[in-house]
């Protein structure tokens, strides 16, 4: 068998995708589930840091596998995420989604184990090309257009990465993917490429646009991989880049305002995803061992709790066909288990003590204070309260409680419940036993989140945020859920830019017409003069219709023919 320790982890996924294509029914299900399990066990038991594999194409060496603690951590994470997502989607009888799910997870693994920028680029583009099918799988008009817009952003990111990689090679003579930093044009090109996939402000709207349009199960896959690959890439290429602290702080704050007024609950989660990625970006930017550990640990936890939240909303969408807060409510009556699992996810993302978010977010916050960013720390604290507000309370409240929408449905199917329970179990396990996650973290640092100060401060913050929610609701100040679209950076791309392009086009067209008229004037003048002159009354000077010219040519040619016959 090929189970050698230096088998690049993406290969089993790509092979399994082919097998899935050729099988049906329970066998296909078995392959789907077995792939992440066997791949994950293989990675855990057989692969240790330092294992490598590379392949030569022409004169170029592609490093398909570079393992250290950082890539291994994301490797484990992506196997867990793929397993949970596959179980959640086990009822789906759609070959496209089955195949693409595995290819997408495999591409993410390929990207985090890539040792050089060209290999990274290949998987970077594969991530885009595979994931877009998960959006298109909804097969609605909206999803198809959103998918194209998504692809536009992702491919731009890939092109920038390739351009950056080539300049980098030209400058340094190497394409090894290690620390890059913001030096020179290569550094910036790659930075922006990573930034697009990371959903930096103004480059973020592919995420809030496309994720909520995917299928109930597709969004679970989508939420796990793309942004986390980007965090991995930033942690590898740009640790300690101060600009990232400011970008990250902005990312934690601006989406929460949108999340409060957004009606589509999966779009609320998409905004809250940018907010969580913001904490990780801050951690990478601070760049101390504690901060970097916090960033990657938070990425690890976020995949699981954000996946859990997307799964509960997916289950609601699957059972009711609705996703707007204004149309839902009271679902705890028919889906009590899903409601409970949603509350576990909500507690984790809100960083309640004993849940997973707490043990990783507190690392980033602590590192921020240590490095003296006290104003930005205040912003992050604001964002922490805000997260609880929109993801921690709003999601479970408007879906499962609030006003009874009258919808009565069935509990989520068993495979969905199983996947959600695994994720919820991991949230609580990591939250209560963080030492196991900490042992996997790449940098060595002593940290323990559970002391009186941290726990008390966090509980006060969260309970009083909840108190604000209760008070605002009782006062009638809480913005009601309304059917609406909220303008975002998207507006620039979809309204301002097309409108300005149209304006430029129209102006150019007008200018062209004017120029033509200007050029025609002397010509027309000459013609008028000519027509006044006696020459114009000469028979041949008159303008003739084309038809008569053709007729005369035919007559002449006919004459030639006759002459030819006669002579």
């Amino acid at each position: 068998m090929m189970w050698t320790s230096n088998l690049p982890p993406f290969i089993p996924f790509f092979v399994a995708a082919l097998l899935v294509l050729a099988t049906r029914g329970w066998l296909r299900g078995a392959i789907l589930v077995a792939t992440p399990v066997l791949g994950g066990l293989h990675l855990w038991f057989d692969v240790s840091a330092g294992t490598g594999f590379s392949m030569s194409i022409l004169d170029y060496e592609l490093v398909l596998m570079r393992t250290d603690k950082l890539s291994l951590l994301f490797g484990y994470l992506f196997h867990i995420a793929a397993f949970i997502a596959v179980v959640f989607a086990l009822h789906v009888r759609d070959t496209t989604q089955n195949v693409v799910g595995l290819l997408y997870a495999g591409s993410a693994l390929g990207a985090v184990f890539a040792g050089d920028l060209i290999t990274l680029f290949i998987f970077w583009e594969l991530l885009a090309l595979t994931s877009v099918f998960l959006i298109w799988s909804s097969r609605t008009r909206r999803a198809i257009f959103a998918g194209f817009r998504y692809l536009l952003f992702q491919v731009t990111s890939g092109v920038l990465l390739l351009a950056g990689a080539l300049v980098y090679y030209q400058q340094t003579g190497s394409t090894a993917f290690n620390f890059i930093g913001l030096q020179g044009i290569a550094g910036w090109l790659i930075f922006i490429a990573f930034g697009i996939k990371c959903a930096f402000p103004f480059l973020h709207n592919w995420l809030t646009d496309a994720y909520p349009e995917s299928t109930p199960t597709g969004t679970v896959f989508l939420s796990a991989f793309t942004t986390k690959v980007a965090i991995y890439a930033l942690a590898r290429g740009y640790p300690g880049t101060e600009l990232l602290v400011y970008i990250g702080a902005a990312m934690t704050c601006f989406p929460i305002f949108y999340a409060v007024i957004e009606n589509d609950l999966r779009r609320v989660l998409a905004y809250s995803m940018i907010n969580q990625v913001g904490f990780m970006v801050c951690g990478v930017g601070i760049g101390t061992a504690l901060a970097l550990n916090g960033a990657v640990a938070h990425a690890f936890n976020d995949v699981i709790f954000k996946g859990l939240l997307f799964m509960t909303m997916g289950a609601v969408l699957y059972r009711t066909g609705r996703m707007n807060g204004s149309d839902l409510g009271g679902l705890y009556k028919s889906m009590p288990k899903t409601a409970l699992l949603c509350i576990v996810g909500a507690s984790s993302i809100s960083a309640f003590p004993l849940f997973s978010g707490f043990v990783s977010k507190s690392m980033v916050m602590a590192a921020m204070i240590e490095e003296g960013y006290s104003y930005l720390w205040l912003m992050l604290l604001f964002a922490s309260a805000g997260v609880f507000h929109h993801a921690g309370i709003k999601i479970p409240y408007f879906a499962f409680f609030a006003h009874d929408s009258g919808i009565r449905t069935k509990e989520a199917p068993w495979n969905m419940l199983l996947a959600m329970s695994i994720a919820a179990g991991l949230c609580i396990f990591i939250g209560t036993q963080p030492q196991y996650l900490y042992a996997l973290l790449p940098w060595t640092v002593e940290y323990w989140p559970y002391d009186t100060t941290h726990v008390l401060a966090q509980l006060q913050l969260l309970f009083f945020s909840a108190l604000a929610f209760v008070w605002l609701n009782k006062q009638g100040l809480y913005p009601p859920e309304l059917h609406s679209v909220n303008l975002d950076a998207e507006w620039l791309f979809r309204k301002v830019m097309p409108a300005s392009a149209l304006y430029v086009y129209r102006t150019a067209q007008d200018a062209g017409n004017n120029l033509k008229r200007l050029m025609m004037m002397p010509l027309l003048g000459a013609r008028t003069l000519f027509l006044r002159s006696p020459l114009s009354s000469y028979h041949l000077a008159a303008s003739w219709p084309t038809g008569s010219m053709v007729l005369w040519i035919a007559v002449i040619l006919g004459g030639y023919l006759l002459l030819d016959v006669i002579l």
Binding site: I261, T452, L459, Q460, R494
Partner: protein
């Protein structure tokens, strides 16, 4: 859809909601008071304010929601806003 004579669920009874809220208020009050009994480590000046985290959490969320409400006046459009002209 909802039927008559349907089973009464947990939060259908108003007294259960009241009970839940009362428990919640008691926890909030307790957390507020504990701040004066326990010693927190202070790393930033702001943390010296008594019950800083409680006050900050409450004010932050009220400010967040009030700003978001105002934001609606500027950014909210009809659901088909992007569907026309495309």
């Amino acid at each position: 859809m909802r039927k008559k004579n349907e089973k009464q669920y947990l939060f259908d009874k108003p007294e259960n909601v009241t009970r839940l809220l009362r428990g919640f208020y008691i926890i909030c009050a307790a957390l507020f008071l504990v701040d004066f009994a326990l010693h927190r480590h202070i790393s930033v000046d702001w943390e010296k304010i008594p019950a800083f985290y409680a006050l900050f959490g409450f004010v932050a969320c009220v400010v967040l929601v009030l700003i978001a409400r105002e934001m609606r006046k500027v950014v909210m459009r009809k659901e088909d806003y992007y569907d026309v002209d495309e």
